[in-house]
Subunit: 140 residues, 2 copies
DNA sequence: ATAAATGCAAACGCTTTGCAAGTTT
DNA sequence: AAACTTGCAAAGCGTTTGCATTTAT
């Protein structure tokens, strides 16, 4: 397990305000991929005064510092998660919107190879699988 | 090669107005992934009166009909391309923004397998590789 | 003390939409 | 003729920002 988000924020030396600590804590305690409004709602439970502008500013700052990963699963909302979490991709259930995580070494290797063959050094990727739950044999 | 976008529009039976024909023609002649403003600019060269609202409405309609594929390469702009084009994924050059296409069977198969293992039937995916050009041996 | 962060509200940029006028079938 | 599409301008929506005030260092 790697350092906490808070520790990493301290390492990079950003000013640790009350509000930033709250946002950081919310993200540390989130195992999902909350959008900004969701982060704000969770933050309000800790600090009922915190404004959404501050949440926007904070997640943007942390993303630019490489401490958060930003996602968009197609609904036009920016979602965030701790960048230090084990690398993984996402599978989105198109029926429920639920998001599952997975990681596949073969996939990672394959991608590096594809990029190289195209003349590129892979710096990042975004893979999302969209699917529907497999129906069990008996029904439908 | 499959049917032209125009033909497929006729098949699904949407009303073919002047403006829709223009947008369709623009997309048929585009080998890249134009965003809405770009589609509009290209359309204006054919019909100097066409409004961007109509372009927005048309690409949205065609996407909902499954005739166009919508992409967002991270700049927050919606980009469109003919859905019938040979399936492929994208590699984006982070330096220049240029987009390259590729297709890899192994990758496709792997994804289906991953989804299945998670209990899902794969309905679609989105894969984007982000990279920088490999430097040739002599320079840098 | 000072440089930076906050909250508010206004502004932004892309996209959508209400409506009157014009088109397609 | 009826149903639908267009263009315009206004509204929507997520996100950003100017500014006066507050806060961390």
């Amino acid at each position: 397990m790697s350092e906490s988000l808070l520790k990493r924020c301290q390492s990079v030396g950003i000013r640790l305000t009350e509000q930033r600590r709250v946002v950081i804590r919310v993200l540390e305690n989130s195992a999902d991929h909350p959008n900004v409004v969701e982060v704000h709602v969770r933050a309000l439970q800790i600090d009922p005064q915190i404004s959404i502008a501050t949440v926007y500013r904070t997640v943007k700052l942390l993303e630019e510092l490489g401490l958060l990963e930003k996602y968009d699963f197609g609904d036009g909302l920016s979602r965030y998660e701790d960048a230090e979490r084990e690398h993984h991709d996402h599978l989105i259930d198109i029926k429920s919107g639920q998001v599952f995580e997975f990681c596949n070494e073969q996939l990672e290797t394959l991608q590096v190879g594809i990029a190289k063959r195209l003349g590129f050094e892979l710096r990042g990727h975004r893979l999302e699988l969209y699917g529907v739950p497999l129906k069990k044999k008996q029904n439908e």
